[in-house]
Structure formats: structure tokens, C-alpha cells
Point group: C2
Chain length 504, copies 2
């Protein structure tokens, strides 16, 4: 065994140990969101802080730095090999973690906790000014974080973005967002002008919670989420967490009088879950056994939720059982009316409730504003006004309260800046991937309407999930589809679908 | 601040850190028994092994040894003070953990896992000989463990017992068990000879699971388990686990056609839970913030399950709501018939299904046999015969299969030797404590029949729970009741109750 093979094995052992420790925290976090008794919150915070400290100590140990240096100076790694990818991405992660001074890490964590509480209260009371001082502190800290990470002549924002979408830059994203924005604004206007307005009241009839749960689980199972290696529980803020091999957990929330929330929420999280379950178990804890980026992750959830779940063919397969499951709500509703209701497009204030078309505009607005905040071109004190102006420009309506405007999302209060664009990236990636799968598998619509989800799932497993971090997102897109990121596939898909629905 | 106060604070900080780490494992263990997806078992084993290793490293660090030595040579600790108790019990724990060579700890853990699997299979297939080689290995390892721990002229068995009941000796236990055994054998015979046999079929009518759950939760809440700081979930092998301040979790299992299982099981676990919730939060992670011993723990669960839950006064308070909750099963059943059914006494094979009277005989049989195994007076190969002979002697019936005999319990396969006597100790302690509470509070029966459980709960909180490990079990008994351990209170209680029920 050569010295560098030995060093490589040692690196992998250390990475796996850190990841195993991290996965213990993941269970504590999952439990915090699902089953933790209210009075246990303080103890849970203590547990998580201890685990975070131990993880940080493991993951930033100087021995990892030495191993990486030794491995980088060896020349025996083939381009695009698993080894090369693991070394490249471990270096990326190690540098990100070691570049931040401990004081800054602790300060970010402390301010995020306090700021989050302040945000919850400010949103409840609809007072942007109560959140403002925390936002100001957070922006300062994030700029300090960007400076510590370094951004090599690019924008400070890019150093933050890099945490969620490694290798991406705001310039590259803006190149795709800019034409997307134009096309979407036109499409939304055309839909509005069509005068067609589906009857969405059928979605707020009575859908008993237990029936929703059964139906969501059966759909998630059918598209390929493995409940032998996973679960579905209830949480106030739905999420998916991949604990480790054989253990991936989804959450959702039920409203007896709103069908789409839990159902499409579950499909969305199951899409994330199918990705996590598709990672190669033998690489658990290493970059090649981990998801590529948040954008690619979101491409999977959005594909199952929207391109599959909100398609006509999906309901060819599922509508009969939906009627049987919810006779009170759906007996007298045609499949066509149901399909139109779940694809209603209209401007609305709240991102997480937005339809497929307007959703991306919500993201772009945030992407622009958070870039301006980090660049110093927008002062936090002016955020509410800037938000409302831009919102009116994009949507033609003006938020009536901060809770329906700049206070609606948790992200900034938690220090998640650079995170938003990954949602719209996910939509664009999904459109690319879906087209490629459609070509290679031949007639996805046909398969879906017959309830045959295995071919698509296995295609995604092989092309995307099993690659882990072997390639970065844009490179993965090229390898899988031969294409570079573009707004066109998404615009084409949306135009086709909604032209038909709204007689455009 | 004196040097030893500084050392004491440092010790406490280290103990709390270990305990916090241990409490993270406790959540992983709870999750393993409740919600873990089947395919996640392997990853969970990896997580738990990592955490156990990290805990062991923390808890056996030489710095703790140095601090203990420094603190023991200082003379400023008052007798019976919190500081003295924390130092004494940390020393006890530290010595137990550091005395065992790492090889033995790992071997015990490895053999326990394999032996447990062999036991599950052997019990299923009713083949004692398939379990025998594992039992032999386990007995050898436990004797080796006892030797490593040291037993200072006492029996090797006592070194094992000491893990569960610190400071207890088999001689002391036998002194209480011996007269208890005589009295119980007489009582069982008298009950048998009475010719009275309650109609227990009313307990196996239809009790819908969801209704059982509601009823169990409302009873657990009423006796004082705080669901704001705890939960009740389902597990195949019911248990209670105190995670930490504000977080204590009970589990039970439901059988639609067996009322007592889940109900008294929940009261039992809630009794453990009330103890855990009664520990002083500010001492979390230190001996004074931890339960005294398994025997004392069991005294709490048994008290709420039997002395309270199976009393006539308890059902004065609960029977009407039981009838309302289970109309199909109980509408035509009188409270008296119900009371008699839940207190049916008869010899049976299975310990966990045994009544209050015969239960202790099950324990004594195991206590005698496991002592003989460790002493070498009984060879594992002769266990089945010895079990059946002794069982016939005590119960007048002979187990028909090993699954109903020496293969029924998990303990020995898991290396839990010295654990069994704590169950019967718990029954004896419970009788002592209940008498004392009855005298001090005046008329517990009266309070219970009015549904007033707060006085008893608060008495236990103050006298027992808040003491933690300040005193060892026997000393605690003396401090609280002025008495030494004796079979008499338990025998008196059982005689009084069952003489009335069986016209003795």
C-alpha cells in the first residue's frame, strides 16, 4: 500500500467518524422538531451544543489538514475519480470550517438563536422594526463571515452562497435568473389576462387528517420512497433529514381543510428522501456519499412534487383512489377540475404557498435583496420599503403587512443568506433533468399515467444520487444532460403546461 | 475559593459533560425502541458504539481520578453533605469503570449482542441447548468481571449486584428474602386452598387500543406524571428513560384484548417517570441528581402500579370513568368484580405476567440460581433442570417448555446478572415507604379514593426523589422511615389485602 493510499484510508476513516457524530445530532434535531416534550427544549439545546462542539473538534482536527496536504501533493488520483472528488470536497469543507475563527462561529450561533426568537415575535406582532436590530447584527456577522472565508475578487455574497451551492457564483445565477424573470412576468400576466380562474374551493373541503396521512404515504411509497428505511412524521416546519444508511425521515403537517399542503409537501419531502436513500451506502460520511448541493437536492424534491405530482398523467393514475379516499370532498369533482385547481396560478404574498410559476419570482426578489444587503447597497432599515416596491413590480400587488412581506421567511433570522437562490436553481435543474430522463426513457408521461415510477427513480438514482459530490452541480448537469444551466427548459415546460390550461 | 472547592467545581463540570453525552445516547436508544426504521438498525449500532466510546473516554479520564484524589484528601466536606455524596459516588462509578480492562468491556459487549440474538432464537424454538454455549461464555465473563472489580472477601456475585444496588450484599438481601419466601409460599397456598377464583375473563374483552391509550395517559397524568416534560409511546419491551431535565419518556404496549397489560404497565413506568421528573434539575449529571439504585427506582414504579393502582380506593376514584371509556367491556361489571379480577393470584410460569404475591417468588428463584451460577455451584448445563425443580417446589407447577421456564427472561443473555433481586427489593422498599407516607400524611386510602395523589407524590418527591444518591438505599430507607429493610411491611400489606379478598 502506497503512503498516499494509506493517508487516503486514514482520511476516509476520520470523515466517517465525523459524519457518524453529525448523524447523532441529526436524530436529536429530528426529535426536537417531532417528539420533544416542551419542557425539554433547554436540555436539548445543551445536548446539541455539546455535540456541535465535538463535531467541530473532530472535523477541524489538524490531522485532517495534514492528510489533505499529503494527498494533494500526491499525483496518483485520476481526474473525476472518487478519490479525487473526496479529496477536493473534503478540502473545501475543511477550509470553510477552519477559516472561521471560533469567536465568529459562536457569535453567529448565539445571534442566530436570539435573532430567530426576535423574528418569531416580530412576525407575530407584524413589527419589522422589532426585528431590524437583529437583522443588522446578522448582516454584519455574515459580511464578516464572507471576509473570513475569502472571495477572491468575486462578491462577498458568493462566499456565503458557496456554502449551499459549492462553486456557484451570483453572476452565473443571475445570467439564468434574468431571462427567467422576464419570461415568468410575461407568463403570469398572460394567465391573469386569460380571465380563467379555476375553482380552488374544492381543495379546502373536508379531507380527514388520517385519510390524508394514508394517501400521502401510499403516494410517497409508490414514487419510490422506501418506508423500510424511512418514516413520515408530523412537524410544524416540514423537512427531510437523511440520518444515515437505512434511515431517512420525512415530516409534513396536516390541515383538514387544505388538501395540497400535506400531499404535495409529502411528495416534495419524499423527493428529497429518495435522493438521500439513493446515495451509495458504502460511501456514507464521505463527499461522494453525500448530496451534491442544495440546488440539486431541490431539483429532486421539485421534480416529484411538480413535474410529476402536479402533472395530468400523475392524476390519471391517482385520481380514482383520491376520490375513494376522500368521497365527501371529491365524489362530484371531475379529474379535470381537480387538476386545474391544483395548478391554479395567481400572485400571492407567501412564498411557501405559491404556485409553480410565481414561485420563482418570490425567490428572485429575495436573491436580489440579500445580495444588496451583503454588498451594502441596501441598508437593513430600508428593507421593508425595498421589498414592497419590488414585490409590487413583480406581482402587481403590494404586501399588506410585514408578515406577508419581508418578515415571512425564517432564513435571514437564522443566518441563512445565500440559501434562497438554490430553490429556483432546483426548479431549473429539475427541468433539465426531466427532459433528459424523458428522452432517455421515452415518454415519461405515459409511464407516469400508468403508475410506473421505477424507471424515473432508477434513472435519477444512477445519474444523480449515486454520484454524490463526485461532480459539482453545473458539471453534474453537463455530464447527465450535456447541457449548461439555462432558463429555457423550465420556461418551455411552464409555457406548454399553462398555455394549455389557460388557453394562451 | 479554596483549592478543593475549585477542584469540586471542576469535577462537577466534568460529570455534567459526561452525563450530557450519555443523555444523547439515551435519545438514540429510545428512538431505537420506538421509531427507528427497520433498515436503520446497523447505522444505529454504529452511532451507539461511537457514543459509548466517547462517553467512556470522558468518564474515565485520568483528570477525574486526580480530582477525586485531591478532593478525598481534603477534609472540609460535612458528613451527609451533597458534596460528600457526589465525591463518594463519583469515586464508586469511576472505580467501577476504570477497573475493567478495555478488552473485557469490549468482549462483554460483543458477547452480549451475540448471546442476545442466540437467546431470541433459542426461546422462539424452545431449545435451551442452543442458548447454553452463550450462557456459559457469559457466566465466565461475568466471573472475570467480578474478579476485576474485586469483592473484598464477599461473594463474587456481590461485585455484580453492586452495579445495580450500590452497597447491597447478597447476604443482606437473603436475610430479607428468606422469611419473605416462607410467608409468601404460605400465602399462595392459603389462597389456592380458599377455592375462590375471580372471573378474569372480563379483562380480556374488547378494550380498543386508542381508548386504552387515552385512559392510561389520563391516569398517569392524574397520579403526577408531567406530560409537559414527558411522553408516552409504544415499544415492544416497555421501559422508562429519563433523558434529562424536562424530558422523561415512558413506553408501553397495547393488546386490544388484555386491559391490565398497558394500563398497569403505564402506571408502573409512570412511577419510574415521576421519580426521574422529581430529581433536582440543578444537580443533573451528578450523583445527587441521579436515582439512588434500581431497587429504590423499582419501589416507585411498584408503589404506583400495585399499592396505589391495584387498590380498592384507586378504583373508587377511577372505575366510573373506566366504565365510560370501555362501555362494551365493563357496563355490566361491578367495581368489586373488576377489583377482584385485577387482583387474581395464581401460580403462573411467566414473571412479567405474575400477580403481586407470586411475583416475588419468581425473583427469588432467579436470585438463587444466578448466585449459584456465579459461585460455580451450578453449572449452566444443569440450569434447566435446576430451574424446573425449584419452580415446582415454589409454585407447585412445572414449566412445560424452556420458553415458559429458564429461557423466558432477557437478562442473563444481556449480561444483567445481579439485576433480578432489585425487583423484589423494590417491592419491600415500596411497602416500607408506603407505610411511612400513610402515617405522615394520614389516611392514604382516603386521599386516593378521592383522587388526591398530590400529597403522596410530593412526599415521595421530597423524601426520596430529591435526595438522589445522597444516601445509599438502606441508609435512605432509615432516614425516611427509621426502619431497616425487612420483609414484614410487605408481608403485612399482602396478608391484609388478600385475606380480605380470599376470606383467609
Amino acid at each position: 500500500m502506497s503512503a498516499s493510499v494509506k493517508a487516503y484510508d486514514e482520511l476516509i476513516t476520520r470523515l466517517k467518524k465525523s459524519a457518524l457524530l453529525r448523524s447523532c445530532s441529526a436524530i436529536l434535531e429530528w426529535d426536537e422538531q417531532t417528539y420533544l416534550p416542551p419542557a425539554g427544549a433547554g436540555h436539548r439545546a445543551d445536548q446539541l451544543a455539546l455535540m456541535a462542539g465535538m463535531f467541530h473538534q473532530e472535523a477541524t482536527s489538524p490531522e485532517i489538514g495534514d492528510l489533505l496536504q499529503e494527498l494533494e501533493s500526491a499525483s496518483e488520483w485520476e481526474a473525476d475519480s472518487i478519490e479525487q472528488a473526496n479529496i477536493r470536497e473534503s478540502r473545501h469543507e475543511y477550509d470553510r470550517m477552519t477559516k472561521l475563527p471560533r469567536r465568529l462561529v459562536e457569535e453567529l450561533s448565539r445571534v442566530a438563536t436570539l435573532s430567530h426568537h426576535a423574528w418569531v415575535k416580530a412576525r407575530q406582532e407584524n413589527q419589522f422594526k422589532d426585528f431590524l436590530p437583529w437583522l443588522e447584527q446578522m448582516i454584519d456577522l455574515k459580511r464578516e463571515q464572507a471576509a473570513a472565508l475569502g472571495f477572491h475578487g468575486q462578491k462577498a455574497y458568493d462566499a456565503l452562497l458557496d456554502e449551499y451551492e459549492p462553486g456557484a457564483t451570483s453572476e452565473m445565477i443571475e445570467q439564468a435568473f434574468s431571462p427567467l424573470r422576464n419570461e415568468l412576468v410575461k407568463l403570469v400576466a398572460a394567465i391573469h389576462d386569460s380571465g380563467i380562474s379555476p375553482d380552488v374551493s374544492i381543495l379546502t373541503r373536508k379531507y380527514p387528517v388520517e385519510k390524508q396521512r394514508e394517501f400521502s404515504i401510499s403516494a410517497a411509497e409508490k414514487i419510490g420512497f422506501d418506508f423500510h428505511s424511512g418514516r413520515l412524521d408530523i412537524a410544524a416546519h416540514p423537512f427531510c433529514t437523511g440520518i444515515g444508511p437505512g434511515d431517512c425521515r420525512l415530516t409534513t403537517r396536516y390541515d383538514e381543510h387544505h388538501f395540497p399542503g400535506a400531499f404535495f409537501g409529502t411528495l416534495h419531502e419524499a423527493g428529497h428522501g429518495i435522493y438521500e436513500q439513493g446515495l451509495l451506502k458504502e460511501y456514507f460520511g464521505t463527499p461522494v456519499g453525500s448530496s451534491t448541493s442544495l440546488g440539486i437536492h431541490e431539483s429532486q424534491s421539485r421534480m416529484w412534487e411538480n413535474l410529476v405530482g402536479r402533472s395530468r398523467s400523475f392524476w390519471d393514475c391517482f385520481y380514482q383512489s383520491a376520490q375513494a379516499q376522500f368521497p365527501e370532498a371529491l365524489t362530484n369533482v371531475t379529474q379535470e377540475d381537480f387538476y386545474r385547481a391544483i395548478n391554479d396560478v395567481r400572485p400571492s404574498y407567501i412564498r411557501v404557498e405559491a404556485d409553480e410559476v410565481t414561485y420563482n419570482l418570490h425567490i428572485m426578489l429575495r436573491f436580489e435583496l440579500e445580495q444588496a444587503l451583503i454588498a451594502g447597497d441596501l441598508q437593513p432599515t430600508d428593507l421593508e420599503t425595498a421589498w414592497n416596491e419590488k414585490f409590487t413590480e413583480y406581482f402587481g400587488i403590494t404586501p399588506d403587512t410585514p408578515a406577508h412581506g419581508c418578515l415571512q421567511d425564517v432564513h435571514w433570522s437564522a443566518g441563512l443568506i445565500g440559501y434562497f437562490p438554490t430553490y429556483a436553481l432546483g426548479n431549473m435543474y429539475a427541468a433539465h433533468f426531466f427532459n433528459a430522463a424523458n428522452q432517455e426513457l421515452g415518454g415519461l408521461d405515459e409511464l407516469i399515467s400508468r403508475g410506473e415510477f421505477v424507471p424515473l427513480k432508477e434513472w435519477l438514482n444512477q445519474k444523480i444520487h449515486q454520484q454524490g459530490k463526485r461532480y459539482r452541480a453545473n458539471r453534474l448537469l453537463e455530464v447527465v444532460t450535456g447541457e449548461s444551466l439555462s432558463h429555457e427548459p423550465l420556461v418551455a415546460q411552464l409555457s406548454r403546461k399553462y398555455s394549455e390550461l389557460y388557453n394562451l
